[in-house]
Structure formats: C-alpha cells, structure tokens
Amino acid sequence: MFYLSYMLSEVRRRRGRTILTALGLAVGVALVVTVSAVSSGLDDAQQEILAPLTGVGTDMSVTRPLTVSSDGQGGLGDLSPAEQRRLRRQAGPGPGLNLRDRKPGTKINADTFSATSQLTFASARTAKVAAINGVESAAGSLTLSANHITGTVPKIDITQGAGGPGGSGAPPTGAFGNGSIRFDARSVTGVDQSQPDIAPVTPSQIVAGAYFSATGPSRQAIVSSAYAGTKNIAVGDTTSLGGKSFAVIGIASSPIGGSASDIYVKLATLQRIADFTNQISAIQVRAKSAGDVSAVASRISASFAGAQVTTAADLAARVGGSLKDTRDLSSTLGRVLAIVGLVAAMLIASLLTLASVSKRVRELGTLKALGWSRGAVVRQISGESLIQGLLGGIVGALIGVIAALAINATGWTLQASVADTATTATQAAGGSPGAPPGGGFGLGQAAITTGSKAVEISTSPSFGLILLAIGLAVLGGLIAGAVGSLRAARLRPAAALRTVE
C-alpha cells in the first residue's frame, strides 16, 4: 500500500509528463483498436459477400470446363468422338431454331435446351467422387440454357437483342424481324433435392414460398428473385419450361456472386424434359474436414480427367471492388501503421521515463541511502510506468472505441464487386457469346450474379480487443519502466547524492 501510495503521488506530481507519456501510449493503442476494429468490420463485410458464394455447406465444386488455348487450339481435339458429337448436339441450335430450313412466314413455337460452357458428364461420376477419401457428401446438378422461341420466320434482316443467358439476373430477350419472332432465354438448373444443403440453391436462399420436397410433384420450380421481378412471377404462379407447366413453389434470393440461374427444378425432371438423360454439369462436394479441402480437391482432380475443382478459397479471390482494396490496405498498411504507432509510442514512453529518472537521480540516491535495495527502486520506477501505461491503455481504448463508433456513424459503405471471367471458350465451342465463363463461378453455378454491391462497414471493437489494447499499453509502460529502471539500478548512491537538482 505504501509503495502504491508513493507511486500514485509521484505520478500526480509529474502530471505533465504522465499525461504526455499516457497520451503517447494512448495514440498507439487507439491506432491498434481502430485499425483492428476496421479490419474486423471489413472481414465481416467480406464474409457477408462470400457467404452466398460458398453456400451453406459446400466446400468445392467439380465442373468440366471446355478450355481453349490462346492460339485457339485444344479443347475439342481432346474430346472423344462421342463427346464431340454430344457437345455439338448440346451446344448447337435446337430443332426449332434452325431458321434456314424454314420458309418465311412459317410459325415457330419451340423450346430448346443447350449446354453452357461446361461439358456435361455422366451422373454416375457423383458416386465416384463421393467415394473419394475425405469426401463427406456429393450432389450432382445440371445447368442449361433454356430457349423459348415464338413467332413467324421473317424475310428481313435481323436486329440483335440482348445477350445470352446469365448476367445480372435480367434474362436476355429479343426479337427478330421487327418483332415477328420472339425468344426468351433463361438459365435453368436441375438440383438434387435430396441434398439441399449442398445444392446450387439452398433452403436458406428461399425468401418466399418453400424449397423442394423430396416426395413432391416433379414439375415444381423455384425462380430467382431477379427473374421473378422481371417476369412478375409470384409463388403459386406457373412458368413454362420445355413446353411443360411448372408450379412456382419458391422465390430464391440471388445475392451478388451467388446463384444466378433463373429457374431451379429437380434434377431428374430437367434431365428428362431437356433430353440430357443421366447427364450433369457440376458436382457439389462437402469435405469431411475444412482442413482437408485442398487435399480432397487434388484427389478429385487426379481421379477425374479434365475436371476443374473450384474451392471456396478460389471464390474469395474473385471478390473485388473498394471493399477488397480497403481490406488489403487495412491488412497491410493499416497494420503496419498500427505497429509503427505502437512502437513509436513505446519509444516515446521509454524516453520520457528515462528523462524522468534522470531528473530524479538525487531522489533515487536518497532512497538507496535510506536502505532501499536496487529491486525496490526498480519496482518503484516500473510501478509508476505501469500506472502510466494503464492510463494510456484506458484512454487509448476509449479513443479507439469512439473512433470506431464515429466510423459507424458516418455510414461508411464500400463496393464489393464480383467480376465475370468471360473467355472465348464458349464462342469457340459454338456457344452464345453471353454464356457463362469457362469453369463458371460460384460452386457449381452456371452463371453468377456479377456486378457490385454496396456493403456498409460496421466496426465493433470486441471486449477482447480492448483488453488486448490495454495490455499492449501496459506492456509499453513496462518496457518504458524497464528502460528507466535499468538507468535507476545503475545509479551509484554516492554519485546520485552529489547531483544538484
């Protein structure tokens, strides 16, 4: 108690120096708190963006993209003749779309399905992937472009409408010959409803209506909210697909980077109506352990020639925009700034403590003359520095919290963007230019919701962070105290008492 009383009285006596030291440490601590809180807020914001990309439980997806080298070679030549025939059939125009065989004035009313840039493969592959060591579960899905054409074969030139399927949710539509032929292209994905957690559309995405039931009717559809908005579709309505009527049972959200198919139906139903029997275009995979994802991905790649395995980590690398830039800045410059600030604060505190000890040489000499041991003198100096550190920590944490709250109050928003990676693959393969990129994005999605989304950054310094910051300041005080104590411990009492103050 006596020591504490002495320490406090000395801290009070040297008020100016105490305030200066504590403020120095406080600035360093405030920097740490603010930068860490901002960094945490940016992480949360990125997680908000990434969550729909990674799905609820999907760790990776397996697709088989059609790749073309920069010289335009490769890809097709690597496929077997049977695969080449299937690709031509899947990617080429459907029977109702070949206008050259039709006379002008002929009525057209046709539904066709074509594959996207991903090659389809046998459904049986799902079981093989599921049997790979480290795989917990696997589910197949099939994504196709569904084209609905109506009208009369024109005599005149063609006006080009919007692009192909995919994009930002508004489905491409257009008309030929002054509107005499209308087409409606939609992306449609068949999902394995028995494994909803790793399906391209999950129950958590349903914003209205319900998810597929395992035993319900086969002609049920879930439409994306963007498509529903464009076509004015609501739960309970019906939508036509492949000439069949589907009951819309749910509306699914399509967050940025997430699922972008316009319509989801049951996998078996889509395979049947599109004539893609036993074909899938992606397998969603969940690993047994998050730490095994990379190893499992390698095993799948090794066992499935031509397969592309996309993991959640790959997806994270695709998020761009000011959110990513700021997060990068925060994780590099911000952290460096915080560390430099903290080190500078500790250095200043050490120098001030050293200066304080130099001014107290006679006092410390007196203590030694009175029988205070070196340890007792060191404890006195260190204790005073510790108090200053604690003060600096509390003030710094307070400033940091206020700064974080101020950032929240400004409603700081950043843009997170997910870019398309369109390649020429689909064009070379005869697909439409607007088709999804090779390999796709999103875990097994045929197309993603590209574009950008504003995310409000919410910084909230955690209790643990505040404690850590105060701890850092106390550490700073201890270091300063140690530096000062070293000087005090070396004082020879006889020389100290000769000092004139």
Binding site: F2, Y3, Y6, E10, L367, K368, L370, G371, A494
Partner: protein, 264 residues
C-alpha cells in the same frame, strides 16, 4: 520509561543477523560494544584514473567506538563528504579497509550494503532530501517500507518519532508546508525509523538559521544519547565543533588532527 527509539529490541537483533548472514567471517554479536562501529585502516579514495586521477582521501586510519559523538571538520575539498559516504556504505574505498559493525564493506554485495544502510545507518542530509510528494509521516516511514514491517506498526512508529522530534501536529503536512527546521526534524525522525546504530549527518545545520541550527544540533545529540547511537557529523559550524567531544580535522584528504575533549 521507554521511548519510541529505545534500543535494542528483538527485531533489531533479527535485522542485524539478516544483514550479516552472508559475511565471510563470523560477525560479531549485534551491539557488541567491544567492537568499534567503524574501523578504517589505510583507507584511500581516488576518483578517475591516470593523469586525471583525483585523490579525495589518502591513508585514513580512524576508529569510532559505539556511542561516540564525532564531528568531522575541514575546508571545502578536504574529503569530508567522501569520508562520510564511505562511512555510510554509499561508496567503496579505492584502497584500505572500511570495517563497519565488524564487517569489511569491500567484501559485501550490493544487497548486503543496502541492508547495512537500512538497518545499521541513519542518514541526515544538509538539504533534508525529503520526498516532496509524501507527507511528513510517509517520509518517516520510507526507510521501513522495504523491511517487511507491518503498515500499522510502521505508521505508529512514524507518528511516535514525529512526536519525539516535536512535530506531532504536522504528520500530514507535505515538506513544502514545513519550515527548514521542521523539514530537518522530519529527516532526523526518518533517520531513526529503523533504529540504526549510527547516525551520519552531512552538514545538518548548513541550511538553517543559527537558532534553528542550534535546536537541530541539540535534538541530534539528545536522540543519539537516548538511543545509545553513534553520531558522526560533518560541519563547518563552530558551535557544533565545540559541542562535539571528538573532532577529526581533515586537510587534503588526510587526517590533520583527531582531538578528544577531556571529560570532567
């Protein structure tokens, strides 16, 4: 009747034993009056080295017995303060032996020297050297803080010592609220806190007016006599020299004279 500063006590004996635990030679019994409190043999102190070396003390032989009252006088630069620092175990000699309470300070560790200063020696400084942020009572408590004495005992003893030096009503005053004489009284009380065997005073009246100086000198003599303590003080004051039974005069770092007044 006992006074707060009566000697010896069981605590004192324990402290003395602790202070001499690691002595290379068997320590004398604490407060053995047959052993000189100080025995200086051929002591020299040189500051610096080579051509810039300054000899502060040379060939000092001096024996101070328990309960002696010795005044050390000499012109400025004669080595008085250096001698007092050696007696106070604040410094080590360059040559010779300084035996304090039967032990050679040269052979003592820093920790042992600290305990020696804490338990055997009480210092009174010319400029009082009180801690400005502590009250009079807390200043008096200061030497006892590292001893392990309970806070209640420490406080009680400090209050009693302040009363003994005539400052009963001033215990909560800061040094800045006390006169010079009062501050020196606090310093004397502080020097007595750990019941030392010897009081070393460096010009204790040097910063006081003559009337106050006389009072302080009388007080020092009184407490030293009451507690059977050895009193060694450095002074320029003629009055102090006249009051001291033994006067050691230094010149150029050597003992010029060592005179003891005849008694009776």
């Amino acid at each position: 009747m006992t006074t707060p500063t009566d000697l010896p006590s069981k605590d004192d004996a324990a402290i003395m034993e602790a202070a001499t635990d690691s002595a290379p030679t068997p320590a004398p019994t604490p407060y053995d009056v047959s052993v000189p409190i100080y025995d200086l043999q051929g002591v020299a102190k040189v500051y610096g080295s080579g051509g810039s070396a300054v000899t502060a003390l040379a060939d000092i032989d001096l024996v101070i017995e328990p309960r002696d009252f010795v005044a050390i006088v000499g012109a400025s630069g004669s080595g008085k303060t250096t001698l007092l620092q050696l007696l106070g175990a604040l410094d080590r000699p360059s040559a010779g032996k300084v035996m304090c309470n039967g032990r050679d300070i040269q052979s003592m560790s820093e920790g042992e020297l600290s305990r020696l200063r804490r338990d055997v020696i009480g210092f009174v400084f010319q400029q009082f050297n009180l801690i400005p942020t502590l009250s009079a009572r807390q200043n008096v408590e200061l030497p006892a803080a590292p001893t392990g004495m309970s806070s209640e005992e420490r406080r009680t003893r400090a209050v009693e010592l302040l009363a003994a030096v005539g400052l009963a009503a001033r215990e909560d005053h800061l040094p800045s609220q006390l006169s010079g004489g009062e501050q020196q009284r606090v310093a004397i009380a502080r020097a007595l806190m750990n019941r030392p065997r010897v009081l070393l005073a460096d010009e204790p009246t040097g910063n006081l007016d003559s009337a106050t100086g006389t009072e302080i000198l009388a007080l020092l003599q009184k407490v030293a006599t009451e507690n059977e303590q050895t009193l060694v003080l450095i002074t320029h004051e003629q009055a102090v020299t006249e009051a001291a039974p033994r006067v050691v005069t230094l010149r150029d770092g050597r003992v010029l004279s060592d005179t003891t007044a005849s008694t009776g």
